[in-house]
């Protein structure tokens, strides 16, 4: 072959390699496709990662491996040299797009890197290797255009390699759903569905404040309806040793109805959305024997938390005994038992045990009440409401402990109870145990109140165990002292120190209230101001309101903002017209904004709406600007609004 022709071919090949093939549509570059690698050279036998980089025109998207209600996944057909092997595509987490008519698709707007592991053979003679592939996709905006491209990756063969394109690969590798996650982050399990043709996934113990979603991966031959995700339980696990760890913990249930196929074949991806951050776990199908994902629970951390919880209950029960209105009773009671029993130690112990049984009966009864009513509450338990209630309880009881006010049972009740428990014998001792606890409630309530609050958010067995240990703590002195009355001499004498303890407890409870306030602040601070009320407030004013519906990931929006909305002529016009500029940030899918977008017949951003000032009629006829703005369009829109 003559040299010049060879050179020409080489030049063409170079050009081809430099210029990513682009899919053109009506004069617009819709998709640019190219193959890249995470290495600068191929080392024989050493696997590396290649990636198909697709860059979409603003507003256009290609699809995930399950495209959803419409669309088509992108395909890569490798034409590999002998000895090379290519793995499956590792798909980064897509965006979920909901369009008019409740059509849900899973897609990549803007850009995506589809990652594939390539394994070269152990021996390579060539100095340079080219890996060609044919990529094909469907790219959609409001309309869809199929596209394909022949792409190739050319790399030298070397004994050593250096990483390449690290940032891009790191960015998209991080978005690939995790195959194994730390069990302490939560637990997932497929359930035997109660209804046939429904796949049901339990997601337990999730401690994020964000949203949970499920992107399904049905195998071919399976047809499904949209997954539904609901919260089945909300807890605020109490951990006294590290109170700042207390977060809201949710259990969820994901349900996917199937119109064909077997529920145990459904896989999917659990998606956690928290602010701008999105995390995801791959969930293999029920029939999968994949060892990668552990479905075992994490008993270690939860058991130790439970033990601390119970220890706290026990100590709390003991502390109840040194409350000013309880301690004097102990001495009196036990002398009473000794007197009744006439020095018979066995009889004293019997009376003591009956009294303890009374204490247990009271607390377990309380637990039963909480289980009965508390469970119904937890149904609609909103974590914020819970925190507010706890804060108030703690403030009230803290002030009470500090002596700002006192709680008394009505006198008549006290008298009746006293009469009841004045009876002698085992029954009398039992009733006495029962009601001594109640009578002591003037000073036990401040401590029990928060305990009841915490217990409300716990499962029933924990509630019973917790109150059981409080009872055990409170009953312990009676048991010990009736078992050996000689120990009475160790009993501290009532005095001012009891008031001090009460005050210290008061300070602790107030501190708890402060900490609940902090949690509440965090919960509120995490969420941005709801847009609905903000707009309502703005519309009450007598100013023209301009709403910029935008999102961080919306390129069109950013361009419009930068080139048009923030430009001097537009800013001047806004100032001149005394226009109130509102930004409706849809980055996190604020439901208020979604609702408004729907009202304007839009499934997404950008959207620009001008609410003219003046009569209610003018307010009710907002001006909608086109998606692609020019300075003139905005200025004309503002002028039109001023005329109304």
């Amino acid at each position: 072959m003559p040299r010049p022709i060879q050179a020409l071919i080489a030049a063409c090949a170079l050009l081809f390699a430099l210029n990513a093939p682009a899919q053109m549509y009506q004069g617009k570059r819709l998709v640019e496709a190219s193959l890249i690698a995470d290495t600068d050279a191929i080392v024989p036998g050493k696997p590396f990662t290649a990636g198909l980089l697709l860059k979409m025109a603003p507003g256009w998207h290609t699809y995930w491996q399950y495209s959803g209600d419409s669309g088509l996944p992108t395909k890569i057909d490798w034409q590999l040299p002998p000895g090379f092997k290519a793995g499956e595509i590792q798909w980064p987490l897509p965006e979920k797009i909901t369009e008019e008519g409740d059509l849900v698709t899973y897609a990549y707007p803007g850009e995506v890197l589809l990652i594939v592991q390539i394994t070269p053979p152990e021996k390579l003679d060539a100095k340079q290797i080219t890996l060609p592939a044919k990529a094909s996709w469907l790219v959609c905006e409001h309309l869809c255009v199929p596209g394909d491209a022949n792409v190739a990756l050319t790399l030298p063969v070397a004994a050593q390699d250096k990483p390449a394109n690290s940032e891009l690969f790191a960015k998209y590798r991080e978005r690939i759903p995790k195959f194994d996650h730390n069990p302490s982050e939560g637990k997932t399990e497929w359930k035997d569905a109660k209804q046939p043709n429904t796949a049901s996934l339990g997601v337990l113990g999730i401690r994020t404040v964000g949203k949970l979603d499920f992107y399904p991966l049905p195998p071919s031959g399976m047809t499904i309806e949209h997954p539904e995700v609901k919260v089945t339980a909300t807890r605020q696990p109490y951990d006294p040793t590290s109170p700042t760890d207390i977060v809201v913990e949710h259990d969820y249930e994901v349900q996917v109805k199937l119109t064909s196929g077997s529920p145990d074949k459904l896989a999917g991806v659990l998606v956690f959305e928290e602010g701008d951050h999105r995390g995801s776990w791959y969930i293999p199908p029920q029939t999968s024997t994949s060892p990668l994902v552990s479905t075992a629970s994490a008993p270690v951390s939860s058991t130790s938390a439970l033990l601390r919880y119970l220890l706290f209950g026990f100590l709390g029960g003991m502390i109840l005994n040194v409350m000013p209105c309880v301690l004097p009773v102990i001495t009196l009671k036990i002398y009473g038992f000794i007197h009744q029993a006439g020095q018979s130690r066995g009889r004293i112990l019997q009376l003591g045990l009956a009294y303890c049984a009374g204490v247990f009966a009271w607390f377990l009864g309380l637990a039963a009440l909480i289980v009965t009513f508390g469970l119904n509450w937890s149904f609609q338990f909103q974590s914020k409401g819970f925190v507010v209630a706890m804060l108030l309880i703690c403030v009230v009881f803290g002030l009470n402990l500090l002596g700002l006010f006192e709680v008394f049972l009505p006198g008549s009740v006290n008298t009746k109870l006293a009469a009841l428990s004045a009876k002698e014998g085992l029954g009398g001792a039992f009733v006495h145990g029962l009601f001594a606890t109640l009578m002591g409630s003037a000073c036990t309530a401040p401590l029990l109140g928060p305990a009841v609050g915490f217990a409300l958010a716990q499962p029933p067995p924990v509630i019973f165990a917790f109150f059981g240990t409080i009872a055990a703590g409170m009953a312990l002195p009676y048991f010990l002292l009736t078992a050996n009355p000689a120990w009475m001499r160790f009993l501290p004498k009532p005095g001012m120190w009891m008031v001090r303890i009460k005050q210290v407890m008061g300070v602790l409870v107030i501190a708890t209230a402060v900490w609940f306030g902090y949690i509440l602040y965090q919960q509120v601070a995490v969420k941005r101001d709801a847009f609905g009320p903000m707009l309502k407030e703005a519309l009450k004013s007598d100013r023209t309101v301009f709403v910029d519906f935008t999102a961080e990931w919306c390129i069109n929006c950013k361009v419009n903002e930068k080139v048009v909305l923030k430009s001097d002529p537009v800013q001047t016009a806004m100032k001149a017209g005394n226009v109130l500029f509102l930004k409706a940030d849809w980055t996190n899918g604020d439901p208020d904004i979604t609702q408004l977008l729907k009202q304007f017949g839009r499934a997404g951003v950008p959207l620009y709406v001008i609410y003219p000032a003046g009569s209610p009629d003018a307010r009710n006829h907002p001006i909608v600007l086109p998606e692609l703005l020019t300075q003139q369009i905005v200025i004309d829109g503002l002028n039109n609004a001023a005329k109304k």
Partner: protein
Amino acid sequence: MKMKSTFLSLAALLAATTIYAAPQVGGKAPDFSVKDTNGKTESLSQYKGKYVVLEWTNPDCPFVHKHYDSGNMQKLQKEFTAKGVVWLSINSSAEGKQGNYTPEKWNEIVKEKNASPTAVLLDNGGTVGKSYGAKTTPHMFIINPDGNLIYAGGIDSIESTNAADIPKATNYVQAALDEAMAGKPVTTPTSHPYGCGVKY
């Protein structure tokens, strides 16, 4: 407990009314009444006693192109309308959206494509589409002479825009009609519909 169960049944009732339920294969197909491109009102009930095929379509969708440019859809329409099957092509594109054309333009399209549906229904409000849960173009439904839905899903087994895949694919509509009309149960009564989203 009583409160809980009341709450639960209320929630269920709420869910039943708000969540849109597409008809189940085997169940009754929802009736409709909508104008065709010639201004005639077409309803499902008027075709009781006949097999009816509903084909959601949008002439500008590449998936629809695949089956019309190859002549695949026209072939099915000819074959089955000749056997007495009623074939209704339905367009649910909302006003201003892709595929929303005037009745006159629609008649031109049908002529140009040499298509032979019994009628082309213009469901611009999307009511019929939503009542069937039509998601894509094409999305195919078959109703038996008793008015029951016997097939819902894609036109065939290979999800692509490439006409070269048609001969390799199993045509589910053909198979279901052949089986049902021979008195046999339908082997594949549902499949994943593939295509462009319906432009509601």
